[in-house]
Amino acid sequence: MTRRLGGPGVAAAVLLAAIVAITLLAPLLAPYNPDLPDLFNALGGATAAHPLGGDALGRDVLSRLMYGARTTLLAPVLVICVASAAGTTLAIVAAWAGGKVDAVVSRLLDVLFSVPGIVFALVTVAVLGPGVPGVVIGLAVAYTPYVARVVRSAALRERGLPYVAAAWVQGRSATAICLRHLLPNLRPIIVAQSVSALGFAVIDVAAVSFLGLGVQPPTADWGLMVKSGLDSAMRGQPLEALSAGLLIALVVAAVNLLGDRLGRQS
């Protein structure tokens, strides 16, 4: 596995693992309560006590970053889990059934694919109200074709192989062939495509938060921190926006690199 990923791939995996670990251990590691205002630290610069300074309310930026990764990363992971499950199911059903079913599913996917993810999130948020559930549902719909289109063409190729015909001639049911043969053989492609979609989902979730439609204050979230940090930056304290923005970029780059490496070996 390490050899397949190569040096940069391993570095990306280690970085992501470290971020996840810090997030999980935030209650132990964070120097301050992330939600506790401290007027003496409002818009404070970097000091030994507050390495990344404080935000407009004086909350410790480093602690907020540690806690904020939770919503920033958990929401995209949820989005991709739902989108992968839905996309894979649609893809395999379309590839197996062929004909009209395939044509309808493919057109539907094309239509969904042509609409930017943010637009879906705006619609579901409008219906369900601002918050994580609306964002996740909207983006999951948006990312379904991203997984489904690639998996469908791989499934079509797989379905054409003689071993699938042999299983059919043996009297195996379509469900058994899809679950026992197609799905395991498609797994590497599904994983690679999902990981590379995850990178985009991180950006989209952060963008929706930035617009104020996702996670609601006072919960710590990187997207929100970029937004509130912009105000602070105008008032001379750029550390909050900079550090949150930099972390988002780092995570996206690492996830994309990992997806690329995983895709190459499949």
Partner: protein, 261 residues
């Protein structure tokens, strides 16, 4: 009694006719060869016999039971599976690359026979032995097996359901010469030991001579000649059959050019 009756089979894709008015029967225990070059429609005929393609016109009956087109119940599909099975050409893609050789056979057995796990394993190993594989091969993945061994697994998989007819679609074409002979002998042994009929799809006349009793020669979707394999190869009546024979390299043979096209 004939195990296969195919009557006036026809298969049209768009405006191309792949198979046209093809009729033949296969008697119990007989080995019929369908000979032809690429594009002759021989593989399409095989796929129609297996139900992998639906004939545009014509009828097929296997073991005396007609097979009209259309969806059938799961039970009926399993019943049909015990009538006719297939071995494909490419030993690499005809096995699931993630499935161990022993599991391939046990899955077939589980689908068709009520056996305890121990009985199933025993029977799978018996099948392995009958196709010249050893117990240690059961735990191997396809990529750990050679081409000849994979083809043996594919044959064992087909035999596991105890079919009356075995279709062999260029089943020895992709194998090394020394392995090809081993598989041809194995197929001959199987036919001696079980009451099974073969439909042997091939472009190789020498192989056809070795394995079949009767043969039909196809070209552009039609049957151009049919008869007893021996007679057909000794005294071909049609120009096309003669041209096919003339093109087979042998001692003293010289390649020849047709007229420039």
């Amino acid at each position: 009694m004939s195990v296969i009756e195919a009557e006036r089979l026809r298969k049209v894709y768009g405006d191309a006719t792949a198979v046209d008015e093809v009729s033949f029967t296969v008697a119990e225990g007989e080995s019929l060869a369908i000979v032809g070059e690429s594009g002759s429609g021989k593989t399409t005929v095989a796929r129609m016999l297996l139900g992998l393609e639906t004939p545009t016109a014509g009828t097929i009956s296997v073991c005396g039971r007609p097979r009209p087109p259309g969806r059938v119940s799961a039970g009926e599909r399993r019943r049909r599976a015990r009538e006719i099975q297939i071995v494909f050409q490419d030993p690499y893609s005809s096995l699931d690359r993630l499935q161990r050789a022993g599991d391939v056979i046990e899955t077939s057995l589980a689908l068709h026979f009520p056996l305890t796990p121990a009985e199933r394993r025993k029977k799978a190993l018996d099948l392995f032995e009958s196709v010249g594989l050893a117990e240690r091969h059961a735990a191997m993945l396809p990529r750990q097996l050679s081409g000849g061994q994979r083809q043996r697994v594919a044959i064992a998989r087909a035999l596991a359901v105890e079919p009356r007819v075995l279709v062999l679609d260029e089943a020895v074409a992709a194998l090394d010469v020394s392995i090809q002979a081993q598989i041809l002998n194995l197929l001959a042994d199987i036919r001696e030991q079980r009451s099974i009929s073969y439909v042997f799809i091939s472009h190789d006349l020498a192989v056809v001579n070795q394995i079949s009793d009767t043969a039909i020669v196809m070209r552009h979707g039609r049957v151009v000649e049919r008869g007893n394999t021996r007679d057909l190869l000794r005294e071909p009546q049609e120009d096309y059959t003669r041209a096919l024979l003339a093109a087979v390299p042998r001692p003293g043979w010289k390649p020849t050019r047709r007229n420039a096209q």
